[in-house]
Amino acid sequence: MDKKEENTEEQVVNPWEVSSSGGKIDYDKLIDKFGCQRFDQSLVDRVQRLTGRPPHVFLRRGVFFAHRDFNEILDAYERGEKFYLYTGRGPSSEALHLGHLIPFMFTKYLQDAFKVPLVIQLTDDEKCMWKNLSVEESQRLARENAKDIIACGFDITKTFIFSDFDYVGGAFYKNMVRVAKCVTYNKVVGIFGFTGEDHIGKVSFPPVQAVPSFPSSFPHLFSGKDNLRCLIPCAIDQDPYFRMTRDVAPRIGYHKPALIESSFFPALQGENGKMSASDPNSAIYVTDSGKVIKNKINKYAFSGGRESVELHRKLGANVEEYGAGRMLTGEVKQRLTQVLTELVERHQTARSAVTDEMVDAFMSVRPLPNMFN
C-alpha cells in the first residue's frame, strides 16, 4: 500500500492523522484496506470461555473490533503458553481525555483476565520529534501521562512502564538495528508517507515502536523466553507500525506480534474522526468535574446520525429503543452524564493516589517474578 493510493482515498488513517472527507470513518473499508480481521462473536465467546469471566464491554460493543492473529494467541494460551501485552502512548499533552484511556482500560481488563504481564511504552522521543517539543518537556509529559495510565489500575507486580529516552539502549537497541536493516527507505516512505523534507529522526523512528513486540528487547523480564508471544491492544491508526513489524519479524526469527484494534472514541460532536486533544469541546477530559461533563454532554453531544449513539452504546447502554432522532433525549444524556462522571471521578481518585515514587517504581528496570500468576 503506497502513499499515492492513500491520497485518492476518502479517508486518511495513520498514526498522525485520522479524518474522513465523507464524514464518519468507514471501518469495514479500513479493515479491508489494512488487511486485518473482524473480531466476531465467536471470538468474543471464546474469550469468555477461556478467561472464565464476562468479556469486556468494549468487546461486546465492538469498540475493539479488529485483530490480527488473536486466534493464535488463544490457541497458544489454551496449550498453556502465555503471552505478554504491549501498549503505549505518545505523550503529547498533559490533557488526557477519555479517548486516550480506552486502550488502557481495555488492556487492564486483558491483564486481569489472562493474568499476563504488560509493557507500556511512552514514546517521548516521537513526540519530541513530531510535535517539536524539547527533550525535557517531552520527558516531563511522559511522566505526567504515566500517572494517568497508572490510575487505570495496572498491577505493579506485572507491569513495566518505560520511556524511550530512558530505556533505549542495550538489547532494545540491538533489536532496533535488526529491524531497521530489514526496512528500506522506500518502504518506510510508503508506509508512513515521509517526504524529502522530513528530518532523519522521523525516518528512523519506526523501529522504536516495533521492537517492544519482541521479548528479547526486555532481558530483565523475559530472559530465556524468546518464544513468548506478544499481543498489542491499540487504536487502529497504529496499524501501519505493526504491519511493518509483522513483515520483519519472521525474517529475524521472531513471532509476529498479534494485534487487537479499536475504533476511535467518537468526538462529542459526532462528525468526523476522533476526540481531539486540541479541541476541548470534542472530548471529556479526565480532569473535568461533574458539572463540566454535564455541560458538555448537554451542549455538545449531538446525534448527527450514529456517532453519539455509538458513544453511548459503547458505554454499554441499551439504545435500541431510541430511534433516529435529531438530538439525544434528555434521559439518554442524563445517563451518559452519570456514567461518564463516575468514570472520571474514579479516575481522579486513583490519579491522586499516584505518587512520583510509584511512577519511579513502575518505570524501574526490575524483574517481575510473579508476572504470570
Partner: protein, 319 residues
C-alpha cells in the same frame, strides 16, 4: 486549650445568664442523666455530634423526645442520603474539646469548634428551661432558651431554631431547606502525628461520639421524590488520600462506600418489594455495583504497598 467546666460557668455568670446547676456521677445517656436531675426544672436534651463526608461537623441539640432522623437531616442539608454520620471520638476531643458523653452546645465556646454548625430544635424554644452539660457530663445545668441564645451570640453565632422532625421533599425544584447550615469554612483536623500529608482521614462509623443515643434514628424512611441517588463519592478526588497507606483507613473507606450503598438500596419501595428477601437482594446488588469500584481501590492499595517496599529495598541495598 479548651474551656473547663468552671470557666464556662464563670462565663455564663459574666454574661448574666441565669442558670441552675446540679452535680452528679458521670452519665453517658439521657436516661441516666434523667435519674439525677429530678430536682432541677427543665426538659432533658440530647446532643449529637455528627460529621459529613467532607469533614464538616454539626451539633444537633434537641429535646430528648424529638425524633431526629439522620437520613432526612442529611438530605435537608443537601448532603444526599447517608451523608451524615456520627463523628468519631477523636473529633469530639479535638474539635469540641469535651470528653465522651459530654456533647453540648456549650462546647461551641471553644475556638476549635468555630466551624461546627449548630442545629437547634425549635422544641427548645417552647420550654421554660432545658438541661445541658456544661462541658462535662458530671454536671448538668438548666437554663432558659434566651440564656442559651445569649451564650451563643457571645460566641459570634446567630441562634436559629428549626423543626427537626420536618421531612420536606428535597429535589430538583425543592432545594435542601437546611443547606445554609452546612459550614462554609473548612474545618482542619490537626494532622494525626503519623501521617504527614493528608488533612482528612476516611473516618469510620463510630457510634461513640454522642452522649444521648436514645431514639436517634427513625426506622421508617420516607423516600423523597427526585432525590439524586448517585452514590456520593467522597471528596478524596483531588487530595492525596492516606487511606491507601493505612490498612485501617483503607477498610474504613471501603465500609463507608458499602454502607452508603446499602443506605441507598434500603428504600421504602424496595423494602415493600422484597420484604424478607431484602437482605439477599441488597447483597446481590452490592456485589454487582461495588465489586469493580472496590477492586480498583484494592489495586491502588497494592501498588502503594509495593512502591514503599521497592524504595525501602533500594535504600537498604545502598548501605
Amino acid at each position: 486549650m479548651g474551656y473547663s467546666k468552671q470557666q464556662l460557668l464563670a462565663l455564663l455568670q459574666d454574661l448574666q445568664i441565669e442558670f441552675s446547676q446540679c452535680e452528679h456521677p458521670v452519665v453517658m445517656t439521657v436516661e441516666d442523666q434523667g435519674k439525677y436531675v429530678g430536682s432541677m426544672e427543665g426538659r432533658l436534651c440530647k446532643n449529637l455530634f455528627m460529621k459529613d463526608k467532607k469533614h464538616r461537623f454539626y451539633i444537633v441539640s434537641a429535646l430528648a423526645d424529638t425524633k431526629v432522623d439522620m437520613k432526612v437531616l442529611s438530605q435537608r442539608l443537601g448532603l444526599g442520603k447517608g451523608g451524615l454520620r456520627m463523628a468519631p471520638e477523636e473529633a469530639l476531643i479535638e474539635i469540641l474539646q469535651v470528653p465522651l458523653g459530654s456533647v453540648t452546645p456549650f462546647a461551641l465556646v471553644n475556638e476549635s469548634a468555630r466551624d461546627v454548625s449548630l442545629l437547634l430544635d425549635k422544641g427548645i424554644k417552647t420550654q421554660e428551661r432545658c438541661i445541658f452539660h456544661p462541658l462535662s457530663n458530671d454536671m448538668s445545668i438548666s437554663l432558659n432558651s434566651d440564656g442559651l441564645d445569649t451564650f451563643l451570640k457571645s460566641t459570634g453565632r446567630d441562634p436559629s431554631y428549626i423543626d427537626l422532625e420536618a421531612n420536606p421533599t428535597v429535589g430538583k425544584d425543592q432545594p435542601p431547606d437546611l443547606a445554609a447550615f452546612v459550614p462554609s469554612g473548612s474545618t482542619v483536623l490537626p494532622d494525626p502525628p503519623e501521617q504527614a500529608v493528608s488533612v482528612q482521614s476516611a473516618s469510620g462509623n463510630h457510634d461513640i461520639a454522642n452522649s444521648k443515643p436514645k431514639a436517634v434514628a427513625e426506622k421508617t424512611v420516607k423516600p423523597s421524590n427526585n432525590v439524586h441517588s448517585v452514590t456520593h463519592k467522597s471528596a478524596n478526588a483531588l487530595k492525596p488520600s492516606s487511606c491507601f497507606t493505612d490498612a485501617e483507613k483503607f477498610v474504613e473507606e471501603i465500609m463507608d462506600r458499602i454502607s452508603a450503598r446499602v443506605l441507598t438500596e434500603t428504600k421504602e419501595d424496595s423494602i415493600k418489594q422484597n420484604g424478607e428477601e431484602l437482605g439477599t437482594e441488597i447483597a446481590d446488588r452490592l456485589r454487582k455495583c461495588c465489586c469493580s469500584e472496590l477492586k480498583n481501590l484494592a489495586t491502588i492499595f497494592w501498588n502503594t504497598a509495593y512502591t514503599e517496599g521497592f524504595h525501602a529495598g533500594k535504600a537498604s541495598s545502598l548501605r
